[in-house]
């Protein structure tokens, strides 16, 4: 690389490719919701299973990261009045996303199987 591209290569090096915990949850919510997945139902689905409030901003940030990684795709819907004239953005899992979820599931199941019994946490 030319010296002038030093900072460009630093930025490229910093990119991650593995799946984070919240990203995995969002991917699973996308799979559960199917074609109707946009910000509101995704966050409600997460809230229902996590038992706590989920920030819509965090959901969108995770969805954007998933799109950047090619694990999810999106399309715009029609704007409606109760949304201030703003369109919904529908998300779906891509083939790569499904593969990533399966790979993560395999890894987690494998790790759980080999785990010694945890003391004092009721597992």
């Amino acid at each position: 690389l030319h010296p002038v591209d030093l900072f460009a290569s630093v930025e490229q090096m910093a990119r991650r490719s593995f799946l984070g915990e919240f990203e995995l949850m969002v991917l699973l919510a996308l799979i559960r919701l199917g074609d109707d997945a946009y910000g509101v139902p995704i966050s409600r689905e997460l809230e229902q299973h996590l038992g706590r409030e989920v920030a819509l901003g965090s959901v969108y940030a995770a969805l954007e990261r998933l799109e950047e990684k090619g694990l999810a795709s999106s399309r715009l819907g029609e704007p409606t009045a109760d949304r201030g004239g703003r369109a919904k953005r529908y998300f779906r899992v891509t083939e790569d996303g499904l593969k990533e979820v399966r790979a993560t599931q395999r890894a987690l199941v494998s790790l759980w199987k080999g785990l010694p019994k945890l003391k004092g946490v009721g597992v």
């Binding site: 030319h2 819509l56 949304r83």
Partner: protein, 314 residues
């Protein structure tokens, strides 16, 4: 059926951070949830988290700015320290040094303006530091002009300013309109050129504040008018479309030189230089720039490297 209105201040904050523009579905989701019965407190919490998330995302996207800002600040500080240690005590710095620094920085600007190949190549190598030359000249001028009284507070000021600028630019990012501006017609890193301009404006305003208006000579008034004209012109709405054509590119560069001209004349107030020297020097430079630009081919603009282009860096 009338719709419920979400908390006005929270909505104002969302708008202030451009969330409805940058992420319309998110703003729509917030409103939809609020209309479906969520409380005002819920809207507030979601607003704060949406803003925090957006700021964090912008910071991540601007990661490459951090080493650049640090490198620029470190070089500035090192040169200024060396300058103070080796030169200030012995020479009438308040007379000589600002003129030399002005000559250097303006030669760099002139090199850019006329597209001088070797200088342009050198500038490419020094690219991360390029936009610091003018602030460097400003800082050295302040140190020199202080006759040894100001330097460390001056360094602290510059360090504080750059760290603040780092935060502002890494987190908030300038509006899109500023991002698409080009001061020198090359569409290269306008954000940094804008930052340079901010530095100039900041210091210039400090100088004006500490000066007694009755003592302002006519040259400074003219240069102040230049600054005002250039500033107004730069912020005209249609400017973003001007960088492509040759006369407009020339106008861009002249405007930038005018900014420098006004700035240095303003600095002269503080460093007690002869105002006429500054004025003549800058006018001469401006004339040379204009003459050279007229006889040179249309500005070629510098090539963006394939790697940077592929990564879509600014």
């Amino acid at each position: 059926m009338s719709l419920r209105q979400p908390p006005a201040l929270a909505t104002w904050l969302l708008n202030r951070f451009h969330i409805p523009q940058s992420n319309p579905p998110l703003a729509g989701d917030l409103l939809e949830e609020f209309q479906s019965g969520r409380s005002g407190a819920w809207y507030w919490r979601q607003t704060v988290k949406a803003i925090a998330t957006t700021l964090a995302r912008n910071a991540r996207q601007s990661r490459a700015l951090f080493p650049r800002v640090f490198a620029g600040w470190a070089v500035q500080t090192a040169i200024a320290c060396a300058f103070r240690k080796f030169f200030t005590p012995d020479i009438p710095a308040h007379v000589l040094v600002p003129i030399v620094m002005i000559a250097i920085s303006n030669a760099l600007i002139a090199g850019l303006a006329i597209g001088e190949e070797k200088l342009t190549r050198l500038l490419k190598l020094l690219d991360p530091l390029r936009t610091r030359f003018v602030p460097l000249a400003v800082m050295l001028g302040l140190i020199a002009g202080s006759d040894g009284e100001l330097p460390w507070s001056g360094l602290g000021y510059v360090a504080g300013f750059w760290l603040g600028a780092l935060l502002i630019f890494a987190v908030l990012r300038p509006p899109q309109a500023i991002d698409s501006l080009s001061f020198d017609g090359t569409r290269r890193r306008p954000r940094w050129l804008f930052l340079e301009w901010l530095v100039q404006q900041d210091i210039a305003s400090e100088l004006w504040r500490h000066h007694r208006p009755a003592q302002i000579p006519w040259q400074y008034l003219i240069s102040g008018a230049f600054v005002l004209m250039a500033t107004l012109w730069i912020f005209r709405r249609g400017l973003r479309n001007l960088a492509g054509s040759w006369p407009r590119a020339l106008f861009n560069r002249v405007a930038r030189v005018m900014l420098s001209l006004g700035l240095y004349c303003l600095i002269a107030l503080f460093v007690r230089l002869t105002s006429t020297e500054f004025f003549l020097l800058e006018c001469a430079l401006l004339m040379v720039l204009m003459l050279m630009a007229k006889t040179s081919p249309p500005f070629p603009g510098r090539q963006v490297s394939p790697v940077r282009n592929a990564l879509r860096l600014p």
